[in-house]
Structure formats: structure tokens, C-alpha cells
């Protein structure tokens, strides 16, 4: 933690941590505690009067059918995105591990979407699936399927899942490549001498050994799907049609900035914070556990 050899005490260390600490207090601790406080208040939309109502906001939220539906939808959405993005990435990573030539070329071509903003990814996919002009819409029409995500909630959900997954593959891919690469070659060789083919080797050697990475990625992907996909959803569907693609973060934003229901929005923020804290703790506990080769 601290170096054995260190500088003698002075005011300097305080000056050094000051910028970080001041920003943390002003923009993190203060707003977070304010959200916490506000979640116990019932306020009118103009902020003139407010009343301390204890847990009423929370009780209201958890008895609100809309919120519960959004909650279930968010969980479904996050796990679908995490599962799809991770399986595709793992598949591609295990393929990259099997080849000798062109590894860098494939890697370069596969990491592009990492750099693309979620909101831009949304724009790309919404264009390809545009109900009148889109290329995929054209193909689907050709096969006799009428695509219109502006009216059909299920199709809208499919679309945001597609765009969110597409963007996340690159990230998972890099981690899986690194994880597979770090497995000692002697293990693979030993099992292949024992007669295990590529598929069997994957499931009995590689897959068990990369589970820590997979678990880490699962948490990261869920956090991504919970929070960062706001841009995807806002540009593509704005939570519609009829709230079919509204996830928790979107609802906090919508209730707070459009609906001006500050107490409810703050209470929702507090619930989200609790979720993030739980996820972060899980993530850190599992990172400590490393697999022994």
C-alpha cells in the first residue's frame, strides 16, 4: 500500500490529492447524498414546496406496475445482450486462437466497434432497419416479413439488443483472446496427446480455465447494458413504442427531466446506485480469486 521508503510529512500530499478529492466531493459525494435525501421527499414539479415522506417514494415505485415491468425488461435486456455479446466474442476468440497467420488483421478488423459511441451505433442500426428504406427491412420484406420497429415493441427490443450487442463484441473479444492466450500451451498439448480433439479441448480445458475472465466480463457487460446503452435506446427508439424498450436508466432520465417527478427519479437513482454497488462488490470479490494453473 505505502512504500517502505517515503517522503517526510509536509503539506504537499494534501495539495496533490486536493484536485481529485474536491471534484469527488462536489460532483460525486454531494450529488449522491442529495439524491439519497431527495428520495425521501415529495416535491412539486416547480420545487417550491417539499415534504419529508420517509419511504413513500420507494413504496410507490415498487408498487408501480410500470416500474416493475421496466425492471424485468432491464434484466431481460441486460442478460440477453451479455449472453449474445459474450458467446459471439468467445467463439471468435477461440477461432483466432486456432490460426497462425493473420491474427493481427482479424483483431484490427474486429475491434472497430469498441470505438463507436453507443448513440452512433444506434443511428447505424436504426438506418439499416428503417421501416421504409432500411436494407435489412428490404431483405425481410423480400422474405415476406413486415418489419416496423416503430410500431412493434418486440421488434424494437430486438433492434436495441442487436445494436448493443454489436458494440460490445469487440471488448469481450479482446479479453477472451488475452485469457485464452495466457493458458499454458503444455496443457493443450498434453490433452491433445491424450487424444482430445479441438472441440473437446475447448470444453474441458480452455473453457474452465477462462471462467474467471468470463465472470468478470459478465459483470462488465451487465453494467454496460444497464447504463451505457442509454445512448443506443435514446437514439433508436426513445424507449418506445409504448415503453417497450424503456430500461431503468432511461426511466430515471425520463421521469426526472421530462416528467419532472423529482422524488421518484431520485428514489430510482438510489435503487440504481445500490445495484451498481452490488455489482462492483461482486466484481472485486471475484477478481481476487484467480485460477491456479
Amino acid at each position: 500500500m505505502l512504500k517502505k521508503v517515503h517522503f517526510s510529512p509536509s503539506a504537499l500530499p494534501f495539495l496533490l490529492v486536493a484536485p481529485q478529492i474536491i471534484i469527488t466531493i462536489v460532483f460525486f459525494i454531494l450529488p449522491a447524498s442529495q439524491a439519497f435525501y431527495q428520495s425521501f421527499l415529495l416535491e412539486d414539479a416547480w420545487g417550491i414546496s417539499s415534504e419529508f415522506v420517509w419511504f413513500e417514494n420507494f413504496i410507490y415505485i415498487f408498487s408501480d406496475e410500470n416500474y416493475l415491468n421496466t425492471f424485468i425488461r432491464t434484466i431481460f435486456f441486460s442478460f440477453t445482450v451479455a449472453f449474445l455479446a459474450m458467446s459471439i466474442a468467445l467463439f471468435l476468440a477461440s477461432m483466432v486462437d486456432r490460426i497462425i497467420k493473420g491474427v493481427t488483421v482479424y483483431q484490427t478488423l474486429l475491434i472497430w466497434p469498441y470505438a463507436v459511441a453507443p448513440a452512433v451505433a444506434g443511428a447505424l442500426w436504426v438506418f439499416m432497419f428503417d421501416p421504409t428504406l432500411g436494407i435489412f427491412t428490404y431483405v425481410l420484406n423480400f422474405f415476406g416479413y413486415e418489419w416496423n420497429h416503430k410500431l412493434n415493441g418486440g421488434e424494437a427490443m430486438t433492434l436495441v439488443v442487436l445494436a448493443s450487442t454489436w458494440k460490445q463484441i469487440a471488448y469481450n473479444f479482446l479479453f477472451f483472446v488475452a485469457a485464452i492466450h495466457s493458458i499454458p500451451k503444455s496443457l493443450i498439448e498434453a490433452s491433445s496427446i491424450d487424444g482430445a480433439g479441438p472441440v473437446k479441448r475447448f470444453w474441458t480445458i480452455i473453457f474452465p480455465l477462462i471462467t474467471p475472465t468470463a465472470f468478470f466480463l459478465l459483470v462488465v457487460n451487465i453494467v454496460y447494458a444497464f447504463f451505457e446503452t442509454f445512448g443506443v435506446i435514446h437514439t433508436m427508439t426513445s424507449g418506445g413504442p409504448y415503453k417497450a424498450t424503456e430500461i431503468l436508466v432511461y426511466k430515471v432520465f425520463y421521469d426526472g427531466f421530462v416528467g419532472l417527478d423529482l422524488g421518484s427519479s431520485a428514489a430510482q437513482s438510489v435503487i440504481l446506485m445500490a445495484i451498481v454497488i452490488v455489482l462492483t462488490v461482486i466484481q472485486f470479490r471475484y477478481i481476487e480469486r484467480k485460477v491456479e494453473y
Binding site: K3, Q20, F28, A32, F91, W112, A115, L133, F230, I277
Partner: protein, 282 residues
Amino acid sequence: MIENRPITTFISHLFLILGVLLVAFPIWITFVAASHDAVRMTQIPLPLLPGDQFFINLKMTLTQSIGGAGSIPTGMMMMNSLIMAMVIAVGKISISLLSAFAIVYFRFPFRMFFFWMIFITLMLPVEVRILPTFEVVANLNMLNSYWGLTIPLIASATATFMFRQIFLTIPDEMLEAARMDGAGPMRFFWDILIPLSRTNIAALFVILFIYGWNQYLWPLLITTEKEMFTIVMGIKQLLETAEQAPEWHLIMMSSLLAMIPPIIVVLSMQKLFVKGLTETEK
């Protein structure tokens, strides 16, 4: 590879090429759409091969306002994005270097308290505290300014942790030698710590630049004046006008322009970036 079977190698390549096609197709389509004119972009089916209007569209998007009345040209939005991304990346790296230096190399009261305070910020992404943070920024009169866009996003637990980790691996003899030669703390910081962590700084810069450039929700809340719009949020404005008159060739050109700087940063620093990503966040 263990066994040399041409068939499996071939299949691997085949699947990889499929994967690349899947991943690159949307980007290809964006490029194609950005290279046609308005008329072609309303005829079904849309083209799959590039047209000849690329540079005309590029010039138009960069210099003219295309997002309805009063909007600013995409070129200016890119400038805003660039400033935002640079300030966030450089700012995060600087304050994290300083605080990690203090925490590792000094013994002072509240050291652990500060450390945990920084740690907490890891758990509060901007998305969960939007409303109260917005209020703080509004009270400080920082709406519609570069300060408001960047400073609230600058505190970073991840970067502080990474630099702490790196500093801990630097041998103690370095400090002893430096002190023997009469170097003070800041001299040691500039002449020894910074040069030793140069590659990590570069790797982190890539990640943070992309983080800053790709911000969406935050600029959406903080900026109401069109002069301050960033390109990523400008896309949404364009999509909204597309409801009436779809000018997909210009929208896709803007999307392309929004993607290019972060893609260039990633590809030009690929090795460092991959190293930084897989080593810092774990």
C-alpha cells in the same frame, strides 16, 4: 497450434471472415450511404456499393448546418467533441497521477480515508446520479460551458488505481537514489515516475479519449445552446429531423465523422490500447 489440419484452419478462417463481415457491415453501410446523393438515398433498395458524392457530402456536412434551423455545422460539433475528449483524458490522467503519487509515496493523516473516497467514485457512474449532479452544475453556473461538460467526469478511480499499482512496482531504490542525489518530491515525480509510466499513460489516454468522445447523456443535459453541442449528441438531432425529411446521406456522413477520430486513435495505438485495456480493468 497443435495439429496441422488444413480443414480446421480453413473453417476457422471462414468463421472469422464471417465474424468480421458481421462486425464491419454496419460501418461499410454507413460509408456507402455517406457517398450517395439525396435522391439515390430514397430509392429502394438502398445501394450496397459506394457512390461518387463522398467529398461533396463531406464538405457540406463539415461546413453547413444540416440539422434544421439554427444548428451548427458538424465541423464545429467535432471541435467541441475534441475539446471535451482531450480535457477529460488529460485531466483524468493528471489528477490521477498526482493523487496516486501522494497515496503511495507520502504518509499523511487521512491517507486511507482519501483513498476510499476516491474508490467510491468507481461505483457512481454519471448515469445513476444525473439529476443531482445536473443541479450542482447548474448551481455553479457551468451549464453550456466546457467546464460543465468535462469537470464532473474527470474524477477517476480506475486511473488512480492503475497508477497506484504501477508506482508500487517501481523499486524503492529509485527513490533512495533520487534522494541521495538531492531530488525533492516533485523532481522525483517528474524525472522518474512520469518517464517510467509513459506507456501506461499512453494506453490509458486511448481508453479515456474514447470515453470522453463517446459521452452522450451528459452533454445532452448540460448543453442547451447549439454552439456547445457535441457530434455524438448532434446525431440524435439529425435523426429527429429525419422523421420529416430523411437526409440519410448527411446523417450517415455525420455518423462516420463521429466514428473516425476514436477509430483512428484505437487503430493507431492498438498494441498499447489492448495492453492497457486487458491489464488495467482487471
